[in-house]
């Protein structure tokens, strides 16, 4: 093992106790013969103890917990229509609450935005942001064999990437984005100067990302699921053509 960027990085992992036994041994062997890395390790050890100073930790003000609890109670009450009093001691009322949930679901569904509606809002925002910040693509390429491998190591799944030039929806590139509380791949297509973001992320159980359509502030959203993956196409393109793209993608 010689000095270099990799060794430097491993040195930090060694300092943090995050190396396996074999790697630790390797580093220790290197350290015994390398004054520079030994000094580096000591320097970072000193830096680390400087970072352990209590004054660096921002303690939450006392009123914050009270404020958060009050907000949580309010939110829970608003969303279910039944009081949400003390947090504790409610277990006994479980069956009653289950009934209340059902009633709430039937009655209040129309009032509070569903998770799907929130997700659709989020998707539209992500789409608009990608146009606003002039950051439509991280990897500008119409070649699906360039775009797909680009996502390797950037997201923890391998999105299916297809060029649909033949269908009138050329692939423009790909981008990393963040939707539904996790990293997502955004594939960018184009149709007559309309940008189309197709967000792709693994389906999460319990998340409301099923299939559906929405129109929000002039943008159309189509969501669907396939093979454990959630897809969402977002564009200012008209719904009919957006559906056509989705059909082509589902082929």
């Amino acid at each position: 093992m010689s000095c270099g960027e990799q060794t430097e990085i491993l040195l930090h992992a060694y300092l943090d106790g995050e190396l396996d036994a074999a790697r630790s041994l390797e580093i220790e062997r290197h350290l015994s013969g390398c004054a520079r890395c030994t000094a580096e390790l000591e320097s970072h050890r000193a830096l680390r103890s400087a970072l352990a100073d209590d004054s660096l930790y921002f303690e939450a003000p006392d009123h914050l917990e009270k404020r958060v609890r009050a907000e949580l109670r309010k939110a829970a009450r608003a969303s279910r229509g039944v009081p949400f009093p003390a947090w504790r001691g409610l277990a006994a009322a479980a069956s009653l609450a289950a009934m209340a949930v059902l009633v709430w679901a039937l009655v209040a569904m129309g009032r509070t935005p569903s998770r799907e509606a929130l997700l659709d809002q989020e998707l539209v925002s992500a789409h608009v942001r990608s146009l606003m910040a002039d950051h439509l693509t991280d990897v500008p390429s119409s070649d699906q064999h360039t775009v797909k491998p680009w996502f390797n190591g950037k997201v923890d799944f391998s999105p299916e990437v297809r060029d649909l030039s033949g269908d009138g929806y050329p692939l423009v590139g790909g981008r990393l984005d963040y939707v539904d509380g996790r990293g997502a791949a955004a594939l960018v297509y184009e149709r007559r100067k309309h940008a189309i973001n197709v967000f792709v992320w693994p389906a999460q159980d319990g998340s409301g990302a099923g299939q559906g359509e929405a129109a929000i502030r002039g943008y159309n959203v189509i969501r669907w699921r396939r093979a454990g993956t959630t897809y969402a196409a977002v564009s200012d393109l008209n719904m009919a053509e957006l559906r056509e793209l989705v059909r082509d993608l589902q082929r």
Binding site: L64, E65, G181
Partner: protein, 207 residues
Amino acid sequence: MMRLAVVGRAPRSRSATGPRAVSAIQREPKRSLSPADQERFERTVLPHLRAAYNLARWLTRNPEDAEDVVQESYLRALRFFAGFRGGDGKAWLLTIVRHTSYTAGRRGRAAQATVGLEEAMEDVEDDALGPEELLLQKASGAAVAEALRELPVEFREALVLRELEGLSYKEMAEVTQVPIGTVMSRLARGRQRLRRLLQEHDRGGPA
């Protein structure tokens, strides 16, 4: 196979009637938290308020924003709690806090110092070690805090999560949504940069 499996009508209102609302009920029977879930929320998520505030404070660099971020994060956490399948409540909450901090920043407050990939790559050149090493041992908490505050946000968050919150690399990867390799290189570069900043401050004038 070719069929488009979506409801054929874009719902323009949030009416409770209509096929979409009905299917949503069938799909999400547990959208409201059961008392057992509430109890679980209180046990696994609420105790990490201290960590949530500390992270939000370091990311927003402003006490009022940090409080707002914590409150907003808890509301989001409550909303998404059904999707939380156990595991470490702290890492889960901090993921939300981090995301909320950045969306708050995007709205115009708390300008983030970010660093481009290229810049991060070339950031391996090192400073000579010497008597300055001693400075790290005597560096006051205030000086370290100031240097940490100045770090670009991806390094700052890495150091806060590791050194102040004591997260493992695996948890850090979860919270920051990057591979462990990236966590490792950010920590290494973050510490190098922090050290350089401390040295510069020390040289730059009387402490």
